[in-house]
Symmetry: C2
Subunit: 126 residues, 2 copies
DNA sequence: CGTTTATTTTACCTTCTGGTTATTTTACCC
DNA sequence: GGGTAAAATAACCAGAAGGTAAAATAAACG
Protein backbone atom coordinates (compact mmCIF):
# COMPACT_ATOMS: atom_id res chain seq x y z
CA UNK A 1 0.00 0.00 0.00
CA UNK A 2 1.25 3.45 0.73
CA UNK A 3 0.76 3.76 -2.98
CA UNK A 4 -0.99 7.05 -2.29
CA UNK A 5 -2.98 6.67 -5.48
CA UNK A 6 -1.43 9.77 -6.97
CA UNK A 7 -3.25 11.38 -9.82
CA UNK A 8 -0.79 10.38 -12.50
CA UNK A 9 -0.87 6.75 -11.42
CA UNK A 10 -4.65 6.76 -11.46
CA UNK A 11 -4.67 8.27 -14.91
CA UNK A 12 -2.23 5.77 -16.36
CA UNK A 13 -3.97 2.90 -14.60
CA UNK A 14 -7.27 4.00 -16.09
CA UNK A 15 -5.70 4.06 -19.55
CA UNK A 16 -4.15 0.63 -19.11
CA UNK A 17 -7.35 -1.14 -20.11
CA UNK A 18 -8.47 -1.42 -23.73
CA UNK A 19 -12.15 -1.36 -22.80
CA UNK A 20 -11.68 1.87 -20.92
CA UNK A 21 -9.67 3.41 -23.72
CA UNK A 22 -12.44 2.46 -26.12
CA UNK A 23 -14.98 4.06 -23.81
CA UNK A 24 -12.99 7.27 -23.89
CA UNK A 25 -12.83 7.00 -27.64
CA UNK A 26 -16.56 6.72 -27.80
CA UNK A 27 -17.00 9.67 -25.45
CA UNK A 28 -14.77 11.75 -27.68
CA UNK A 29 -17.66 11.64 -30.14
CA UNK A 30 -20.03 12.99 -27.54
CA UNK A 31 -21.97 12.22 -24.43
CA UNK A 32 -23.32 8.70 -24.02
CA UNK A 33 -25.35 6.69 -21.55
CA UNK A 34 -24.05 3.61 -19.79
CA UNK A 35 -25.99 1.23 -22.03
CA UNK A 36 -24.78 3.01 -25.11
CA UNK A 37 -21.22 2.71 -23.88
CA UNK A 38 -21.69 -0.95 -23.07
CA UNK A 39 -23.20 -1.84 -26.42
CA UNK A 40 -19.98 -2.48 -28.42
CA UNK A 41 -18.48 -4.72 -25.75
CA UNK A 42 -19.08 -8.30 -24.86
CA UNK A 43 -19.37 -7.70 -21.15
CA UNK A 44 -22.23 -7.22 -18.75
CA UNK A 45 -23.43 -3.83 -17.64
CA UNK A 46 -22.03 -4.02 -14.12
CA UNK A 47 -18.61 -4.46 -15.66
CA UNK A 48 -19.08 -1.22 -17.59
CA UNK A 49 -20.31 0.50 -14.45
CA UNK A 50 -17.06 -0.51 -12.78
CA UNK A 51 -14.98 0.76 -15.66
CA UNK A 52 -16.84 4.03 -15.52
CA UNK A 53 -16.15 4.29 -11.83
CA UNK A 54 -12.45 3.88 -12.48
CA UNK A 55 -12.57 6.54 -15.18
CA UNK A 56 -14.57 8.80 -12.91
CA UNK A 57 -12.16 8.45 -10.00
CA UNK A 58 -9.37 9.28 -12.42
CA UNK A 59 -11.24 12.42 -13.40
CA UNK A 60 -11.50 11.32 -17.01
CA UNK A 61 -15.26 11.08 -17.04
CA UNK A 62 -18.02 13.13 -15.50
CA UNK A 63 -21.58 12.00 -15.14
CA UNK A 64 -24.90 13.68 -14.75
CA UNK A 65 -28.42 12.54 -14.08
CA UNK A 66 -31.13 12.70 -16.63
CA UNK A 67 -34.21 10.75 -15.77
CA UNK A 68 -33.06 7.17 -15.31
CA UNK A 69 -30.05 7.76 -17.48
CA UNK A 70 -26.57 8.65 -16.26
CA UNK A 71 -24.96 10.25 -19.28
CA UNK A 72 -21.17 10.37 -19.26
CA UNK A 73 -18.89 12.87 -20.84
CA UNK A 74 -15.20 13.10 -21.36
CA UNK A 75 -12.99 15.23 -19.14
CA UNK A 76 -9.58 15.38 -20.71
CA UNK A 77 -7.68 17.41 -18.13
CA UNK A 78 -5.85 14.42 -16.59
CA UNK A 79 -4.70 13.45 -20.08
CA UNK A 80 -2.94 16.79 -20.29
CA UNK A 81 -0.85 15.91 -17.26
CA UNK A 82 -0.16 12.41 -18.52
CA UNK A 83 0.94 13.82 -21.86
CA UNK A 84 3.09 16.30 -19.97
CA UNK A 85 4.85 13.56 -18.08
CA UNK A 86 5.55 11.54 -21.19
CA UNK A 87 6.70 14.62 -23.07
CA UNK A 88 9.78 14.78 -20.86
CA UNK A 89 10.99 11.66 -22.64
CA UNK A 90 10.36 13.00 -26.09
CA UNK A 91 14.04 13.49 -26.84
CA UNK A 92 14.65 9.81 -26.20
CA UNK A 93 12.48 8.59 -28.99
CA UNK A 94 12.86 11.43 -31.46
CA UNK A 95 14.86 11.07 -34.62
CA UNK A 96 17.60 8.49 -34.35
CA UNK A 97 18.45 9.59 -30.87
CA UNK A 98 17.11 6.35 -29.49
CA UNK A 99 19.37 4.23 -31.63
CA UNK A 100 22.31 6.57 -31.14
CA UNK A 101 21.85 6.42 -27.42
CA UNK A 102 21.61 2.67 -27.49
CA UNK A 103 24.82 2.53 -29.49
CA UNK A 104 26.67 4.84 -27.16
CA UNK A 105 25.55 2.90 -24.13
CA UNK A 106 26.49 -0.35 -25.75
CA UNK A 107 29.99 0.87 -26.46
CA UNK A 108 30.25 2.21 -22.98
CA UNK A 109 29.10 -1.17 -21.74
CA UNK A 110 31.54 -3.17 -23.81
CA UNK A 111 34.76 -1.33 -23.12
CA UNK A 112 35.31 -1.69 -19.40
CA UNK A 113 33.60 -5.02 -19.41
CA UNK A 114 36.13 -7.74 -19.95
CA UNK A 115 39.64 -7.12 -18.75
CA UNK A 116 40.42 -10.82 -18.73
CA UNK A 117 37.36 -12.93 -19.31
CA UNK A 118 38.17 -16.15 -17.49
CA UNK A 119 36.38 -19.36 -18.07
CA UNK A 120 34.79 -21.05 -15.15
CA UNK A 121 35.16 -24.80 -14.90
CA UNK A 122 31.83 -25.34 -13.23
CA UNK A 123 29.47 -26.72 -15.74
CA UNK A 124 27.51 -29.76 -14.72
CA UNK A 125 25.12 -28.79 -12.02
CA UNK A 126 21.64 -27.62 -12.20
CA UNK B 1 -7.89 -13.24 -20.09
CA UNK B 2 -8.45 -12.71 -23.76
CA UNK B 3 -7.14 -9.31 -22.87
CA UNK B 4 -4.32 -9.96 -25.30
CA UNK B 5 -2.02 -7.73 -23.31
CA UNK B 6 -1.79 -5.25 -26.14
CA UNK B 7 1.26 -3.06 -26.27
CA UNK B 8 -0.50 0.13 -25.33
CA UNK B 9 -2.08 -1.45 -22.28
CA UNK B 10 1.26 -2.80 -21.17
CA UNK B 11 2.85 0.58 -21.59
CA UNK B 12 0.20 2.41 -19.62
CA UNK B 13 0.16 -0.29 -16.96
CA UNK B 14 3.91 0.03 -16.59
CA UNK B 15 3.56 3.79 -16.16
CA UNK B 16 0.80 3.42 -13.59
CA UNK B 17 3.24 2.89 -10.76
CA UNK B 18 5.20 5.75 -9.18
CA UNK B 19 8.20 3.56 -8.43
CA UNK B 20 8.43 2.50 -12.03
CA UNK B 21 8.05 6.05 -13.27
CA UNK B 22 10.84 7.09 -10.93
CA UNK B 23 13.00 4.29 -12.27
CA UNK B 24 12.45 5.58 -15.79
CA UNK B 25 13.29 9.05 -14.55
CA UNK B 26 16.54 7.78 -13.17
CA UNK B 27 17.33 5.93 -16.38
CA UNK B 28 16.81 9.12 -18.33
CA UNK B 29 20.02 10.28 -16.71
CA UNK B 30 21.83 7.24 -17.99
CA UNK B 31 22.40 3.56 -17.54
CA UNK B 32 22.14 2.16 -14.03
CA UNK B 33 22.45 -1.15 -12.25
CA UNK B 34 19.66 -2.78 -10.29
CA UNK B 35 21.14 -1.80 -6.93
CA UNK B 36 21.62 1.75 -8.08
CA UNK B 37 18.02 1.88 -9.20
CA UNK B 38 16.83 0.40 -5.92
CA UNK B 39 18.79 2.79 -3.75
CA UNK B 40 16.28 5.69 -3.56
CA UNK B 41 13.36 3.44 -2.65
CA UNK B 42 12.29 1.83 0.54
CA UNK B 43 11.66 -1.57 -0.95
CA UNK B 44 13.66 -4.75 -1.19
CA UNK B 45 15.68 -5.71 -4.21
CA UNK B 46 13.33 -8.45 -5.44
CA UNK B 47 10.62 -5.82 -5.64
CA UNK B 48 12.82 -3.75 -7.93
CA UNK B 49 13.61 -6.81 -10.00
CA UNK B 50 9.89 -7.29 -10.48
CA UNK B 51 9.37 -3.68 -11.49
CA UNK B 52 12.20 -4.00 -13.96
CA UNK B 53 10.62 -7.09 -15.42
CA UNK B 54 7.40 -5.19 -15.95
CA UNK B 55 9.28 -2.36 -17.62
CA UNK B 56 11.22 -4.82 -19.73
CA UNK B 57 8.12 -6.65 -20.92
CA UNK B 58 6.66 -3.27 -21.82
CA UNK B 59 9.76 -2.59 -23.87
CA UNK B 60 10.64 0.46 -21.81
CA UNK B 61 13.88 -0.92 -20.48
CA UNK B 62 16.63 -3.02 -21.96
CA UNK B 63 19.24 -4.85 -19.99
CA UNK B 64 22.70 -6.14 -20.62
CA UNK B 65 25.19 -8.22 -18.70
CA UNK B 66 28.40 -6.81 -17.40
CA UNK B 67 30.17 -9.01 -14.87
CA UNK B 68 27.71 -9.56 -12.07
CA UNK B 69 25.84 -6.39 -12.91
CA UNK B 70 22.75 -6.15 -15.09
CA UNK B 71 22.78 -2.55 -16.24
CA UNK B 72 19.48 -1.16 -17.47
CA UNK B 73 18.87 1.51 -20.02
CA UNK B 74 15.82 3.37 -21.16
CA UNK B 75 14.02 2.48 -24.36
CA UNK B 76 11.53 5.20 -25.07
CA UNK B 77 9.85 3.87 -28.19
CA UNK B 78 6.68 2.67 -26.41
CA UNK B 79 6.33 6.12 -24.91
CA UNK B 80 6.07 7.50 -28.41
CA UNK B 81 3.02 5.37 -29.06
CA UNK B 82 1.48 6.22 -25.71
CA UNK B 83 2.00 9.89 -26.41
CA UNK B 84 0.47 9.36 -29.81
CA UNK B 85 -2.66 7.84 -28.34
CA UNK B 86 -3.11 10.62 -25.84
CA UNK B 87 -2.43 13.26 -28.48
CA UNK B 88 -5.74 12.39 -30.12
CA UNK B 89 -7.44 13.98 -27.14
CA UNK B 90 -5.37 17.11 -27.21
CA UNK B 91 -8.22 19.24 -28.52
CA UNK B 92 -10.30 18.29 -25.51
CA UNK B 93 -8.00 19.87 -22.99
CA UNK B 94 -6.54 22.71 -24.99
CA UNK B 95 -7.40 26.31 -24.28
CA UNK B 96 -10.91 26.72 -23.01
CA UNK B 97 -12.12 24.00 -25.28
CA UNK B 98 -12.64 21.73 -22.34
CA UNK B 99 -15.05 24.10 -20.65
CA UNK B 100 -16.69 25.01 -23.92
CA UNK B 101 -17.18 21.39 -24.73
CA UNK B 102 -18.59 20.73 -21.30
CA UNK B 103 -21.02 23.56 -21.85
CA UNK B 104 -22.07 22.34 -25.26
CA UNK B 105 -22.58 18.83 -24.02
CA UNK B 106 -24.57 20.09 -21.11
CA UNK B 107 -26.87 22.01 -23.39
CA UNK B 108 -27.11 19.05 -25.69
CA UNK B 109 -27.89 16.96 -22.66
CA UNK B 110 -30.66 19.21 -21.50
CA UNK B 111 -32.51 19.65 -24.75
CA UNK B 112 -33.34 16.22 -26.14
CA UNK B 113 -34.03 14.84 -22.77
CA UNK B 114 -37.69 14.07 -23.05
CA UNK B 115 -38.49 12.52 -26.43
CA UNK B 116 -39.83 9.02 -26.44
CA UNK B 117 -36.82 7.57 -28.14
CA UNK B 118 -37.33 4.23 -26.61
CA UNK B 119 -36.40 1.17 -28.52
CA UNK B 120 -33.03 1.44 -30.17
CA UNK B 121 -33.89 4.40 -32.34
CA UNK B 122 -31.73 6.65 -30.23
CA UNK B 123 -28.81 6.94 -32.46
CA UNK B 124 -28.43 3.92 -34.59
CA UNK B 125 -24.79 3.37 -33.74
CA UNK B 126 -23.37 0.06 -34.77
C1' DC C 1 38.48 -23.56 -3.94
C1' DG C 2 35.99 -20.29 -0.84
C1' DT C 3 34.28 -15.59 -0.33
C1' DT C 4 32.00 -11.72 -1.61
C1' DT C 5 28.92 -8.92 -4.34
C1' DA C 6 24.95 -8.43 -7.47
C1' DT C 7 20.87 -10.15 -8.88
C1' DT C 8 17.26 -13.59 -9.56
C1' DT C 9 14.16 -17.23 -8.11
C1' DT C 10 11.14 -19.32 -5.01
C1' DA C 11 7.49 -19.68 -2.09
C1' DC C 12 4.11 -17.10 0.25
C1' DC C 13 0.91 -13.32 1.56
C1' DT C 14 -2.46 -9.57 0.90
C1' DT C 15 -4.83 -6.41 -1.87
C1' DC C 16 -6.61 -4.86 -6.25
C1' DT C 17 -8.95 -5.99 -10.75
C1' DG C 18 -12.15 -7.40 -13.89
C1' DG C 19 -15.60 -10.21 -14.43
C1' DT C 20 -19.99 -12.65 -13.20
C1' DT C 21 -25.16 -13.30 -11.45
C1' DA C 22 -28.79 -11.79 -8.69
C1' DT C 23 -30.98 -8.10 -6.37
C1' DT C 24 -32.06 -3.11 -5.57
C1' DT C 25 -32.67 1.49 -6.53
C1' DT C 26 -34.27 5.29 -9.52
C1' DA C 27 -37.36 7.46 -12.32
C1' DC C 28 -40.49 7.47 -16.10
C1' DC C 29 -45.21 6.02 -17.84
C1' DC C 30 -49.85 4.47 -17.89
C1' DG D 1 -49.88 2.25 -7.46
C1' DG D 2 -47.95 -1.10 -10.82
C1' DG D 3 -45.11 -1.97 -14.71
C1' DT D 4 -40.89 -1.21 -17.01
C1' DA D 5 -36.35 0.50 -18.40
C1' DA D 6 -31.64 2.14 -16.82
C1' DA D 7 -28.26 1.81 -13.75
C1' DA D 8 -26.11 0.69 -9.35
C1' DT D 9 -25.13 -2.42 -5.59
C1' DA D 10 -24.03 -6.79 -3.31
C1' DA D 11 -21.79 -10.99 -3.03
C1' DC D 12 -18.75 -13.74 -4.99
C1' DC D 13 -14.72 -15.55 -7.70
C1' DA D 14 -10.13 -16.26 -10.25
C1' DG D 15 -6.15 -14.26 -11.26
C1' DA D 16 -2.79 -10.51 -11.38
C1' DA D 17 0.08 -7.01 -8.58
C1' DG D 18 3.16 -5.67 -5.34
C1' DG D 19 5.41 -6.82 -1.47
C1' DT D 20 8.38 -9.85 1.68
C1' DA D 21 12.09 -13.28 3.50
C1' DA D 22 14.98 -16.85 2.34
C1' DA D 23 17.49 -19.58 -0.82
C1' DA D 24 19.80 -20.04 -5.33
C1' DT D 25 22.78 -18.22 -9.26
C1' DA D 26 26.38 -15.66 -11.48
C1' DA D 27 30.68 -13.79 -11.73
C1' DA D 28 34.75 -11.49 -9.95
C1' DC D 29 38.44 -11.99 -6.53
C1' DG D 30 41.84 -13.60 -3.20
Amino acid sequence: MVAAADTLSQTFAALADPTRRAILGRLAEGEATVSQLAEPFDVTLPAITKHLKVLERAGLVERSKRAQWRPCRLKAAPLRDAAGWIADYRRFWEASLDRLDAYLQKVQAELPADPKNKKGSQRGRK
